[in-house]
């Protein structure tokens, strides 16, 4: 919430907050334009998810998971993936529980776990190559360190793959390590997979719920906003076994009851279009990641030319950048803030370019480890990236 205010200034090139400024596909916009004309779509629909939407989701995810998914019992439609995270945590986590969170983490996990009365237990991704990172794949969990975080109080681990902010796409082997520990300690896995379709060449998104023994202990979360570049539709979903999803449904019926009907109907229609061509390269799930890959590469190039060190993401639409190489001296700024906060504020003020400081995504112990990184979002239209290019090319021409 803090940084969105600062970046609302139109003279600033906003690569901070994760929202696309590209247009959603036209058939998605058209689907929504048509629905308002249908009277009954302006009234309440089924609380746990509009029938045509949960049907479409079950088809898409049956294909993706390779198992039967019941649209009425195994799926809950929520207000964004955010709402799914909230429903899952409120349904299954309580006082006395511990929840493992991998750092850096999407910032809402920590307050949500705390709001449920539980204790967050952090474990950082660590850079393999002595701090010299060129790729998101360099960032890994130490298996022994991870195993140490599990105990009898560990109710859940929150997994985010593809990962925000680093862009890491967890490999099958990495997921197996996590799965083994979940099974051994009878722990839940809350798998935030909102960027599931955004994986770049040479990488594959693997659903931890498809690993042996994991379906029965995993809630997988998805997002229309990220799938279709419509973050303002605020529709997400939780998918999992009935005996877990039913508790999320109880939370839902006691918090907001139902999600907007017209948006769910339009989303269902979009899903049917792409479901039919899921194996086709034209499917938006695949075409978007191709589009973003070239933006990723362009962004990385510009950052390198400006003397910054980007960490090339294997997935997602964020890129973290090591800014320490610039040696910008901010010691005179006497706030007790971490370096990256100060850097971003300085960058917004003097370069008119915004990003998000990485320590915003860390627990208190790890802030020092990550304070030389900032996060850029590259799901931006060409003119935005052009404006960023101008700034980055002129970076070293200005002082301070």
């Amino acid at each position: 919430v803090e940084f969105t205010k600062v970046a609302a200034d139109p003279s600033i090139v906003n690569l901070g907050q994760g929202l696309p400024d590209i247009s959603p596909p036209s058939y998605v916009k058209e689907a929504l334009a048509k629905v308002a004309a249908v009277d009954r779509l302006n009234q309440y629909t089924r609380g746990f998810g509009h029938p045509s939407l949960v049907k479409a989701l079950s088809q898409v995810y049956e294909k993706a998971c390779g198992r039967k998914i019941d649209p009425l019992t195994d799926i809950l439609v929520t207000v964004g993936a955010y709402g799914s995270l909230f429903s899952t945590i409120q349904a299954l986590i309580e006082e006395g529980d511990e929840v493992i969170i991998i750092e850096p983490f999407y910032d809402s996990y920590e307050p949500m776990v705390k709001m449920a009365g539980a204790k967050p237990v952090f474990i950082p991704l660590r850079c393999k190559n002595y701090g010299n990172s060129a790729s998101s794949a360099d960032w890994v969990l130490d298996p022994a360190e991870l195993a140490n975080k599990f105990n009898s109080k560990t109710k859940a681990i929150i997994l985010n793959t593809p990962h925000n902010p680093i862009g890491k796409v967890f490999t099958r082997e990495e997921l197996q390590v996590i799965a083994d520990l979940c099974i051994k300690h009878d722990t839940l896995c809350i798998s935030d997979e909102v960027y599931e379709w955004l994986v770049y060449k040479g990488n594959k998104h693997i659903k931890i719920a498809t690993l042996p023994g994991m379906w029965e202990r995993t809630v997988t979360i998805g997002s229309a906003g990220k799938t279709y570049s419509v973050t303002g539709w605020k529709l997400g979903w939780s998918i999992g076994p009935e005996y877990l999803i039913k508790h999320l449904q109880v939370v839902h019926q006691n918090t907001l009851y139902t999600c907007p009907t017209p948006l769910q109907e339009a989303l269902a229609q979009a899903f049917w279009i792409d479901y039919k061509r899921m194996d086709d390269p034209d499917c938006y799930f695949h075409s978007l990641s191709r589009e973003l890959e070239s933006k990723r590469d362009r962004m990385a190039q510009l950052l390198k030319e400006a003397g910054l060190k980007p960490v090339i993401p294997d997935g997602g639409y964020f890129m973290i950048v090591d800014v320490s190489t610039l040696n910008v001296d901010l010691s005179d700024v006497d706030e007790k803030q971490p370096y990256d906060y100060k850097f971003v504020k300085w960058m917004i003020a003097s370069k008119k370019l915004s990003a998000i400081p990485l320590s915003a995504f860390c627990g208190p112990e790890t802030k020092k480890q990550f304070e030389k990184y900032i996060r850029f979002c590259f799901i931006k239209k060409d003119s935005t990236l052009d404006a960023a290019e101008v700034i980055l090319k002129n970076w070293n021409k200005q002082t301070g």
Partner: protein
Amino acid sequence: IKASNSLSFSLQAKMSRPVRARRLEGIDKNIWVEFVKLAATYSKVNLGQGFPNFPAPDFLTEAFTRALSGGNHMLHQYTRAFGHPPLVKVLAQFFEKLLGRDLDPMTNVMVTVGAYQALFCCFQALVDEGDEVIIIEPFFDCYEPMVKMAGGTPVFVPLRPNPPKDGKLMSSADWQLDPAELASKFSKQTKAIVLNSPNNPLGKVFSHGELGLIAELCVKHDVLCISDEVYEWLVYDGKQHIRIASLQGMWDRTVIVGSAGKTFSATGWKVGWVVGPDRLLQHLRTVHQNSVYHCATIAQEAVAQGFQRELMLYGKPESYFVQLPKELQQKRDWLVQSLDSVGMKPIVPEGTYFLVADISQFKSDVPDVPNSDEPYDYRFAKWMVKNKGLAAIPLSAFYSEAHKKNYTNFIRLCFAKEEATLKAANDILQKWKQEKTSS
């Protein structure tokens, strides 16, 4: 579970540790899940769940389509978390007029996913373990589980029927709080009272005197007021909806809850709001940013335009807020007459689009089952939808567990329906009555 066990068995196993969080205890039942399914399966005429079956007004759906065709594709992206700027601005303007005080759109207004989520934010933000919350019965059913989920204790106080002595039909105004009984419910633990006026399900519009009584007690005991005013525009017979927040000493301790779904007959848009002092709303914002964070942009944009139109037409005959209650009053009168003519005694509502009817004269069709775990009116309503195709909601759904048995002869009907629907309902009722008379 060791991997050395039979692999396929252990790997299919559910988690053996208990998974459900304790906060969900006792709140898993929900009347709507059951009755909406029944209506969908059996009903020919659905007067059950509260939503209009006539279209939302053209100016609203046109605003939605216009916003989409405008070429501003950023309407498909996140807007301000606490409320889309054009919407909070016009809500502030509107409520400034209605409350007679200055409002800051950024701090005195917040947009939510329906009034339902507004209520959730109120309880989560303001109610703690050990707090008592007074709920007036009959009540919109979600108040009780929401109080419990927040760790609070609901304390119930009933509206009591005082039937008119002249044999006329009862009005929702005849259901009243006993002042001494109400006062006795306030204790040191009382954190808040939930007020719903106009009241769902009865349709009662609390009078100035009645609100004054509640306000006095709130001030005396330093208690908050969560004021659910979603039906604020649906008042009949020239009555006035009075906002308790405008009474002496109340602004600073009241959160007003409102709904675009009810205001603009578009329940499926799920846009609601809270209006109140910053010192209370700041806590609702915290809950909101940790639960849903943002509400859908496009619906907020269209609702903002709807309000802008109403602001210009305020008080004029073309105002939707003037036309809708006029239309609904006619429908109310029609349904009242229809029910009365067959012997189902309606309680004439002063507001909302619900009315409650006494079905005592039809009980012979659905024999009582002693020691049944289900209240009589639940069984009656279920029988009625399955056998007569008419869906309604049993009144005891709006009572606490302890008091359900006190009011088992009533059903709630929604009259926000097209003429054809109300006619069809009448046909069912007339036929039913004929069958009873001839048998």
